[in-house]
Amino acid sequence: MSLDLATTRRIAKLARIGLEDAELETVRQKLDGILGWVDQLSEVDVEGVPPMVGTETEALRQRDDAVTDGNCRDAILSCAPEKSGPFYTVPKVVE
């Protein structure tokens, strides 16, 4: 399996990572190396083996339906790059 430049560019775009054309081939090679390494797994015969979803043996932990959190606007907004009054703000996005 070999990753092409167009796919590399698309993956970068979907991940919102800006790449210069000069960097593209280097990134392609690195990603291709990772994929190739992971792809070794396909050599294992898993015929008839149910898919494993994790190493945990416990069930999904569930909580009761109660309000136990929130009401911490100042704390949350203190980390915002931009804010105005009670809001986060972002460059205008209108459809």
Binding site: R10, K13, L14, R16, V53, G54, E56, E58, A59, L60, R61, Q62, R63, D64, D65, A66, V67, T68, D69, G70, N71, C72, R73, A75, I76, L77, C79, E82, S84, G85, P86, F87, Y88, T89, V90, P91, K92, V93, V94, E95
Partner: protein, 484 residues
């Protein structure tokens, strides 16, 4: 009677599937303990999990699982005892995590059906493909600043059920009927309040067109339509747009569109052009959700009576027609109100008072069944007064209006205003004699064969007795005297 668009090249039919996002009724969010109350101060109901602070881990709300399973059961759907959560990746300012936790390959609920009724009285089954749980996004506010959008994350992380239909819908009317029925079921179950104005139920509409007998053609998805009327309009205009493209030799592109209600058109949603590649993968923070069949069975046993079952029961228990039963069960509160009255009384009389005089009074006074000035008990009592002959049907209308106005009980009103029905034949005979004396000419006409005047005499006698005479007694006595 199916819906077709007549084009230059012949008739086209429409193919529609709906994805409904229904906000789950729960106190706290799907994966955090922040409140879900609508209308709170911006960003006051946001936890560090909802704001996607690094290292915060989601823990699922048990009640949301209960609500999703109950909804699945209400839709006659298969419940999957094992389901999983995936990350749906995209960037948008209302989604702090950069991904939505959703269920992709393994939803909690599989195939089901909804039966809808059309205005023609015909019923149709619409298939449900699946129901899955996911997180809602935050809200963007665009009108407060010329260059900025404001972000309110109160809604971010609230549990949604996405309910996906099969592409079984063939008419705008069917889409409307489907949404109304779905909302009814959700409201009966108490799993979603179905309030489209507040956004707790929203629809994405998939539309394509085709010639009869063809396989499906390319579809477009119209996002986030927030009223049933707009869904029906959006389908009409989108289908017409697609027919025009095909007939002019073009190709319909598969894309996401917005419905602009003011202009009555749909248009491309540019920001979503790239968004179809969501790169789903299993959420490593959440184990598979495993539930037990016994637990599902217990939830099923505890479900309330749903609209279809209630309608059938009303027909058989109270002897009322299919149509009337449908009007009553449309809202559970109306059905309960009716049943309080109808139990042990004349069910047909009860339905005519509820859907006739009561609905008219609510309309006129701007009240709802919940705030009705006349309680079910009081209206029932009034029907008792009709049944035992204390008042007649005509006087009952007057008593009812008084009840609406004053909120007093029917007994008190009848006593206070002296509306008790006159059954004393002496009084009725006297009234008849008086009327006949005053209208000697009409008596002659009647006797020479103008039977139609009988109604006139009844009216005059009722007037003479201020409407209080027992109509059956008046009829008998009048007939005897006129013919005699």
């Amino acid at each position: 009677m199916s819906y077709v668009i007549e084009g230059k090249t012949g008739s086209w039919e429409i193919v529609v599937g709906l994805e409904v996002h229904a906000q789950v009724v729960s106190k706290s969010k799907l994966f955090s303990g922040a409140s879900t109350t609508f209308g709170a101060e911006p960003n006051s109901q946001v936890s560090l999990i909802d704001a996607a602070f690094p290292g915060m881990l989601p823990v699922i709300n048990k009640e949301c699982v209960v609500q999703a399973v109950r909804t699945g059961l209400g839709l006659n759907a298969r419940i999957n005892l094992e389901s999983r959560f995936d990350r749906k990746n995209y960037f948008y300012a209302d989604l702090p995590q950069g991904y939505q936790i959703s269920q992709f390959a393994h939803p909690i609920v599989g195939e089901g059906t909804i039966e809808i009724e059309l205005s023609s009285g015909e019923t149709r089954k619409i298939g449900i493909t699946r129901l899955h749980m996911e997180q809602d996004a935050g809200k963007l506010i665009h009108d407060q600043d010329p260059t900025k959008s404001m972000v309110d994350l109160n809604r971010a992380g609230v549990a949604l059920m996405e309910i996906v239909s099969e592409p079984d819908i063939r008419e705008p009317e069917e889409a409307g009927a489907y949404l109304r029925k779905l909302r009814q079921i959700l409201r009966y179950l108490g799993t979603c309040d179905g309030n489209m104005e507040e956004g707790s139920m929203r629809a994405d509409v998939n539309v394509s067109v085709r010639k009869a007998g063809e396989p499906f053609r390319t579809r477009c998805e119209i996002k986030n339509v927030n009223s049933i009327r707009f869904v029906m309009q959006a389908i009409e205009v989108e289908a017409a747009r697609q027919v025009e493209i095909w007939e002019n030799g073009g190709e319909v592109d598969q894309e996401t569109r917005l419905f602009d209600a003011a202009r009555g058109e749909t248009r491309t949603m540019r920001s979503k052009e790239d968004a179809h590649d969501y790169r789903y993968f299993p959420d490593p923070d959440l184990l598979p959700l495993v539930i037990e069949q016994g637990w599902v069975d217990a939830l099923k046993a505890a479900l309330p009576e749903l609209p279809d079952a209630k309608r059938t029961r009303f027909q058989s228990d109270y002897g009322i027609p299919f149509y009337d039963a449908g009007v009553l069960v449309a809202e559970q509160s109306v059905a309960d109100f009716y049943e309080t009255i109808a139990k042990g009384r004349d069910g047909k009389l009860a339905v005519s008072w509820v859907t006739g005089d009561l609905f008219a009074a609510l309309n006129r006074t701007g009240k709802t069944i919940e705030t009705s000035p006349v309680s079910a008990e009081a209206l029932g009592k009034m029907l008792d007064l009709i049944a035992d002959g204390t008042i007649n049907g005509k006087i009952a209308k007057e008593v009812f209006e008084d009840m609406v106005e004053t909120g007093e009980g029917p007994d008190a009103i009848v006593e206070k205003k002296g509306l008790r029905q006159v059954t004393d034949t002496g009084v009725i005979d006297a009234a008849i004699d008086a009327v006949m004396a005053k209208n000697a000419d009409k008596v002659t006409e009647y006797r020479s064969g103008k039977d139609k005047l009988f109604g006139f005499f009844v009216g005059q006698v009722m007037k003479e007795t201020k409407g209080k005479a027992n109509p059956a007694l008046v009829n008998d006595a009048l007939k005897a005297k006129l013919d005699g």
